[in-house]
Amino acid sequence: MVKYVSVNVFLTAFLILLIVLIIIFFGVMGYDNYKKNGYEEDIKLLNQQMVLDDLFMVYIADTNNIQEKCSILEKQYSAEYNLNRQLLDKLRQINENALVPTSNYIKYMYVLTNVKLWMYHKKLNIDCNKDKILILYFYSETINQGKLDKIKDEHINSLFEDTLNSISERCKNINVFVLPYNKDIIILNQIISDYNVANYPAIVVDKNVYYNVSELQNFNCETN
C-alpha cells in the first residue's frame, strides 16, 4: 500500500530548513563581520599610531635636532600612508563581494584617518621643508543613485585613478589621498569649500583644482 507523506514530514522539512537558514545567516553575517572587524582593527591600529605621532611631536618639539625629528616623522607617516592605502583596497574588495555591506563607521573612520594623514604630511612639508607633492583626489560617490549613474561614475573614477596611478609611477615624490566628495562629513565640507572644489571627481594639487584628466597628462613632477 502506498504510504502518503504526513504533515509531520512537512514540518520536519521546515524545521531543518530553518536550522540551515539560521546557520547560513549567522555564517554569512559572521564571516562578513569577521572581515569587517579586521578592518576596524586596522583603523584602530592606525589611530594608535597617530596618537603615538602626536606624542612624538610633543616630545621632540623642543629638540634642536630637526633632521632627526623629521626623519622619524617621515618614516611614521609614510608607513601609515601605506597602511591606509591597503585599507582602501580592502574596503573596495568587501564592497564588491560581501552580502553584508560595509558599515558607515568603517568608511567614516577611513575618511577621517585619511584627512588627518593628509594634514600631517602637509605639516611635515612645512616643518621639515620637504618637497612631497600632496594630491587630494575627490572621487564621485554613488549613494542611492541609479545603475546608469553608478556605471558612469565608475568609469569616470577609473579614468582619474588611472591618471593618478600613472603620475604616481612617474613621480616618486607624490602622495595621493583618496576622499569621497561628500559634503555631509564636516571636515570634508570644509576642505571642499576651502579649495573651491565645485564638482567631482576632482584632483587638488596645491591650490589648483582639476576636473579633467587631460589637464594632468603633462603633470610635472618637479614644479607642481
Binding site: 500500500m1 502506498v2 522539512a13 530548513l17 547560513i24 562578513d32 563581494n97 552580502l99 558612469k152 588611472d162
Partner: protein, 443 residues
C-alpha cells in the same frame, strides 16, 4: 458555456500579464537584493530539496509497483499513427509482447493510410476521418485519442506514443496502482536516442528530473502530470471527466488537474519503464519546452481555483509552492540577464566615450577595474551551500532511477547543474512573453 470560455481566456491572459509585469517590475525597480531577501528566496527554493531528501529516506518504496489485482481488468493498449507512419510497426510489435494475464488488443488509431497494419494479428485499427489528423492542429493527439476511445469497451486504457518503446512488464507493474480513487498510473520514461549533446543532456535530465521528483509528488499525493507517452487509466473515469481538453497543448497535465478537481488521483510507478525519442536539435528542444511551459501555465491559470480548494490534501500547497518557485526563478534569471546585458552595453558606451574624449587605451581601463577578489566571500559561501544541496539531490535522484553514470554523461551533467536550469527558466520567460502577446502555439 460561452461566458465560461471568455472567462477562461481572460483568466489565462491575466495570468501571463501578471507574471510578465512582476518580472518587469522586479527587474527595473529592485536594485539591491538584501541578504534577508536572498535567504527567504533561497529557503523557499530549498524547502523542496529538503522535503525530497526526507521523503526519499522515510518513504523509499512509495512509487514501487503494487501487487496485481485478483480480478484482472480488461485492458486496451492504444496508440496512434497517421501519414503511413511505418515506425509504428516496431512499437506495435513491442506492445503485442506486453505481459498480461488475459489477452488484450492493441488499438492503433489511424487516418486509414497505415495499410500495413491490416493483417497483423492482435492489432485493430480505429480509422478516423482525415480531418482529425490535420498536421497543423497542435491538439491533434487529444482529439484523436478522445474520438478513438469511443470505439473501445475495455475497463483500462494503456496509452503509448508511437515513438515510445515500453518494457514487457510495464502493464503488469502499472495495473496494481489503479485502485479506489487512483485512476491513472504513469511510468518512468528514458531516452532512446543518445547520440549528440542535446540528446545526452536529456538522458541526464530524464533520469534526474522525471523519476525521483515524480516519486516525491506521488508521496505528497500531488502528482500533477499524466505523461501522455506512457500511462494507464480507467476508461470510465476518463470518459466521466470529459477526456482530454482539446484546447490545451499539454493535455496530459490538464487531464490530471481535471481528475484531481473531480476527486481522483494519478500516481507514478518507478519500475514501469519505457524509452522514448527526444528532440535531437536545440531548435526542436526549444519548441518542445516552450510547448510544455505554455501548456503548463495555461493549466495553472485554468485551475487557479486550486489556490482555495479544500479536500485536495497537499495539492493546494504543492500548486502554490511550485508556481511561486517558478515565478521567483524567472524573476532572478531575467534580472540577471537584464543586468548583464545592460551593464555590458553601458560599459562599452563609457569605454568608447572615454576613449574618444581622452584617448585612453582599453587595456589600461580594463586592467584597473577587473578585480578577481582572491578571498572567499560570503556570496561564494552561499553558492557553495546551494551546489552541495543540488548535488546531493541529483545523486539521490540517479540512485533512485537506477541510472549508472558513464564518462559520456559527465559534461552533460556539469551542464545540467550549472546551465540547464537557467536555460529552462529562460525558455519559461519566453513562453510567458509568448502568452502575453498571444503568439501562436507550435508543436
Amino acid at each position: 458555456m460561452c461566458f465560461k470560455k471568455i472567462n477562461l481566456f481572460f483568466r489565462n491572459r491575466l495570468f501571463y500579464l501578471f507574471v510578465f509585469v512582476a518580472i518587469i517590475l522586479y527587474t527595473l525597480f529592485v536594485s539591491n537584493t538584501s541578504i534577508y531577501l536572498i535567504l527567504i528566496i533561497f529557503g523557499f527554493l530549498f524547502y523542496f530539496l529538503i522535503l525530497s531528501i526526507i521523503i526519499a529516506k522515510k518513504y523509499p518504496t512509495t512509487s514501487n509497483s503494487l501487487s496485481f489485482p485478483k480480478k484482472v481488468p480488461t485492458v486496451a493498449v492504444v496508440t496512434y499513427a497517421y501519414n503511413n507512419f511505418q515506425s509504428i510497426l516496431l512499437t506495435v510489435e513491442r506492445l503485442k509482447k506486453l505481459k498480461y494475464p488475459i489477452p488484450f488488443t492493441v488499438y492503433v488509431i489511424t487516418d486509414g493510410t497505415c495499410k500495413f497494419l491490416d493483417n497483423i494479428s492482435g492489432v485493430k485499427q480505429i480509422i478516423l476521418p482525415k480531418k482529425y489528423f490535420c498536421k497543423s492542429d497542435i491538439n491533434l493527439k487529444s482529439r484523436v485519442i478522445n474520438k478513438g476511445l469511443k470505439h473501445i469497451k475495455e475497463e483500462n486504457v494503456f496509452q503509448v506514443d508511437g515513438d515510445t518503446i515500453p518494457n514487457k512488464d510495464v502493464l503488469m507493474k502499472l495495473t496494481g496502482t489503479l485502485r479506489e480513487n487512483v485512476v491513472m498510473a504513469i511510468g518512468s520514461i528514458g531516452v532512446t536516442n543518445t547520440n549528440n549533446f542535446v540528446e545526452k543532456i536529456q538522458v541526464v535530465e530524464y533520469n534526474f528530473g522525471f523519476g525521483f521528483p515524480r516519486m516525491i509528488m506521488t508521496a505528497m499525493n500531488s502528482l500533477d502530470i499524466g505523461t501522455g507517452a506512457l500511462c494507464l487509466y480507467k476508461k470510465k473515469i476518463f470518459d466521466q471527466v470529459g477526456g482530454y481538453d482539446v484546447k490545451n497543448i499539454t493535455e496530459d497535465k490538464e487531464i490530471v488537474y481535471k481528475l484531481i478537481d473531480s476527486g481522483y488521483r494519478a500516481e507514478f510507478v518507478i519500475d514501469a519503464k519505457a524509452k522514448t525519442v527526444v528532440p535531437d536539435t536545440w531548435k526542436k528542444f526549444f519548441i518542445q519546452r516552450i510547448r510544455w511551459f505554455r501548456g503548463g501555465y495555461d493549466v495553472t491559470s485554468k485551475y487557479m481555483h486550486f489556490l482555495f480548494k479544500k479536500n485536495v490534501g497537499f495539492f493546494s500547497f504543492y500548486f502554490i509552492y511550485t508556481n511561486i518557485s517558478l515565478i521567483l526563478g524567472m524573476l532572478f534569471v531575467f534580472k540577471t540577464i537584464y543586468d548583464f546585458i545592460s551593464n555590458l552595453f553601458l560599459n562599452i558606451y563609457y569605454y568608447l566615450l572615454n576613449f574618444i574624449q581622452y584617448g585612453f587605451s582599453f587595456s589600461d581601463i580594463f586592467h584597473l577595474h577587473i578585480s578577481f577578489a582572491p578571498l572567499m566571500n560570503s556570496f561564494l559561501l552561499l553558492m557553495l551551500v546551494s551546489i552541495t544541496f543540488a548535488l546531493y539531490f541529483i545523486i539521490i535522484s540517479f540512485e533512485y532511477n537506477d541510472f549508472k553514470m558513464k564518462r559520456k554523461h559527465i559534461i552533460p551533467l556539469i551542464y545540467m547543474i550549472f546551465v540547464h536550469g537557467f536555460i529552462l527558466l529562460l525558455i519559461s520567460i519566453i513562453s510567458i512573453v509568448y502568452g502575453v502577446f498571444g503568439v501562436k502555439y507550435k508543436w
